[in-house]
Assembly symmetry: C2
Homo-oligomer: 412 residues x 2
């Protein structure tokens, strides 16, 4: 039995690059209502079926008129125009205007064909019901939004792989696109393995623990916009573990196995993964702490991650890998975690040859700076992460940070 | 009819402070499954009903033993111990160990009562089935996780108003808390008003436009963790507008009215809001562009925002106010938008007395810096925002920014 020391570890980013070199994601797509598509990723370029605005409209409350009729007009020498009535919102002008005429129009109102400008109310005076004074000249096009000025018919509205924001939903609906073809979010399957595990709602007998990894990992997948699928708990029996892994694997796009994946007699994860298909295990062992005994694999075109059974290790490895996998599945770049610049309150040491992640609390110092206080303790206690505000990365091959160092803390 | 110039405008932050001084949110709460509670805000402190771990367990694969039996042991002078068998995962030890005995145990296994340390496999050798050599002394407590070391029975697990992250869900489930009392997210009601508006799926006749504000605003509310409720479109008839506003107001916690709220003849929004209850309109006019004619109100303890009908103005005002309203409703601080530091490619000017928001595109410059390119054009075209990567704020009473300035662009 090889000792864990024999792992040829790789930095997390190198292991993901290795996976990417083998992985060509083939996401599915589905047609959904635009109104329900917030955060979804477009499966195809979207072109506008019509122009917007659909007609020339006024940008202000005022009078639609022919600009030429106002040339030379001023406060002292106004232009007099006949009032052709008022255009109600939502209606097309019943008649065109003639030379010397004006139509009262509201913001967004449709211009009559011969009007080429709108003069704001502020620059006019009403003489009587049928006549107005215009106190300043209007240029052609003034206060007019041209048809198609927002978007032209046939124009590319949004490109393939764009992730929809509130304004994008507005833009699509503005040109009548009420459905879009979106990539299906990846189904992230999660299978826990271990004779000691029981569901959280079960009565626990001595020696048993609640399987929290399935819920931590599904919450993380949900947060990242994926569709988590919990496949329950397999026993430590190889045949059962293999059977449940195969069934889950068939039903998901990315499989997370949460089991003892350290090299030990009771550990079948490596064999189970290799049984799921070619090329199988690509890397066993990451240069990160916690999380060293992780397995990175690709089976029949689907990533499979063998996570340590320890919840802290499992979460920190998933937090470093799952954003990349989900983003790459959808053809996007992973979002970097929010970071906060803070002053480290105590020295933290690290070991050469690996990245260390240290949980920290943030607080305000008396001098107004943000202070980062490392939370020391056994690394496999979940409340270390519950109590933490963020994580501090100690990069590869550094000795750590001195007290007082300015560091970037990743919020998580 | 007063001209819009007569508004006594307030900066957005001052208007929100004014609202806060009148507003005491009274959020409801509901009991939900912990597994489904990602992102939800706790309605009460949560204490642990039990300790975790529930029993003393091993942190490694190795032999549970009495530390005293190993004192003085070394590579050259090992301690010999009788093997008491192997503890299977998930089971409690059947018997205790006696002096001079060891029990093979796995990571997470429950220690027998008399064992006080675990020696890792690497520091042992198997002599035969019934005896092992221990090659180094163990200290009491070595490789042992004490009962209650992660969390004590009765300890505060998470405080009221904490927003649940994946690790929090894990911590709660670890101690058997399968349900939590969470604040109900605010119901953000949205009513559009205007004779020219039609639902996005309708056939549009000349003079009509699709009501996209309802969808932009509901997507924003959804993104912020609220529960959006779209109340449809009211006509410009005062009685209908008033009736639909009252019905919607009764069914939500925060009401957004998207209608022409500029001061004009057809504008009833101010009266409609004042009809919803005391104190009514607190502020009409914000020192922001776009978005000046906004109304900020509180009626019967619920915020009501009268947004400009123009989609760009409506979104930018909601983007500046809704995060504050939703966070305050839930007793939390609003999250600041992500920002990107960038070099401005062109001069942008602003007017004294207001904040200006300018849509920008971001790109990589040849020298590796991020460049921010302002998108000029009419401010009421929604595709200006669809095409934008972010927003640049020109603060109050500055002249804008020169080309080449380093600026913070808010991603949105």
């Amino acid at each position: 039995m090889p000792s864990p020391e024999f792992f040829q570890v790789l930095p997390v980013s190198d292991a993901l690059t290795l996976l990417d070199s083998h992985w060509q994601p083939q996401p599915g797509s589905e047609t959904i209502a635009t109104a329900d598509a917030l955060g979804r990723v477009l499966a195809a370029d979207v072109h506008s079926p019509e122009q917007a605005p659909a007609f020339r409209k006024s940008a202000v409350d005022g009078y639609a008129l022919r600009a030429a009729d106002t040339y030379g007009a001023s406060q002292s020498l106004p232009a007099f125009l006949s009032l052709r009535g008022e255009l109600k919102m939502g209606e097309a002008p019943k008649d065109d205007i003639d030379a010397g005429e004006a139509l009262l129009i509201h913001t967004g109102g449709m211009l009559p064909a011969s009007a080429d400008a709108v003069v704001m109310l502020e620059y006019t005076q009403s003489i009587h019901e049928a006549e107005i004074e215009v106190l300043r000249a209007a240029a052609p096009g003034e206060n007019v939004i041209q048809a198609g000025e927002d978007v032209a018919e046939g124009a590319l509205v949004l490109p393939r792989l764009h992730q929809l924001r509130p304004q994008d939903i507005g833009g699509l609906l503005a040109v009548g696109i009420t459905e879009v073809k979106a990539l299906s979010p990846p189904r992230v399957g999660i299978l826990s393995c271990g004779d000691e595990l029981a569901p959280p709602e079960a009565d626990i007998t001595p020696g048993m623990v609640r399987d929290i990894n399935a819920y931590i990992l599904s919450a993380l997948a949900e947060k990242l916009g994926a569709l988590p699928l919990r496949f329950g708990i397999a026993s430590d029996r190889l045949d059962e573990y293999r059977q449940r892994a195969e069934a889950g694997f068939a039903a998901c796009d990315i499989l997370l196995l949460s089991a003892g994946s350290s090299v030990s007699a009771r550990d079948y994860t490596r064999d189970v993964i290799n049984g799921l298909g070619e090329p199988g295990v690509l890397q066993h062992g990451l240069a990160t702490k916690p999380g060293k005994p992780t397995i990175i694999a690709l089976c029949q075109g689907k990533p499979v991650i063998g996570l340590p059974g320890n919840p802290v290790s499992a979460l920190l490895v998933a937090w470093q890998t799952l954003p990349h996998l989900i983003a790459r599945y959808l053809g996007r770049k992973p979002q970097a975690p929010d970071t906060v610049r803070a002053r480290l309150s105590q020295r933290v040491a690290s070991v050469t040859g690996r990245e260390d992640w240290v949980a920290v609390n943030l607080s305000q110092s008396e001098d107004g700076m943000t202070a980062a206080e490392p939370i020391f303790g056994k690394s496999n206690l979940i409340f270390t992460l519950v109590d933490a505000d963020g994580l501090l990365r100690l990069p590869l091959n550094t000795g750590g940070y001195q007290a007082g160092s300015m560091v970037d803390v990743a919020m998580f």
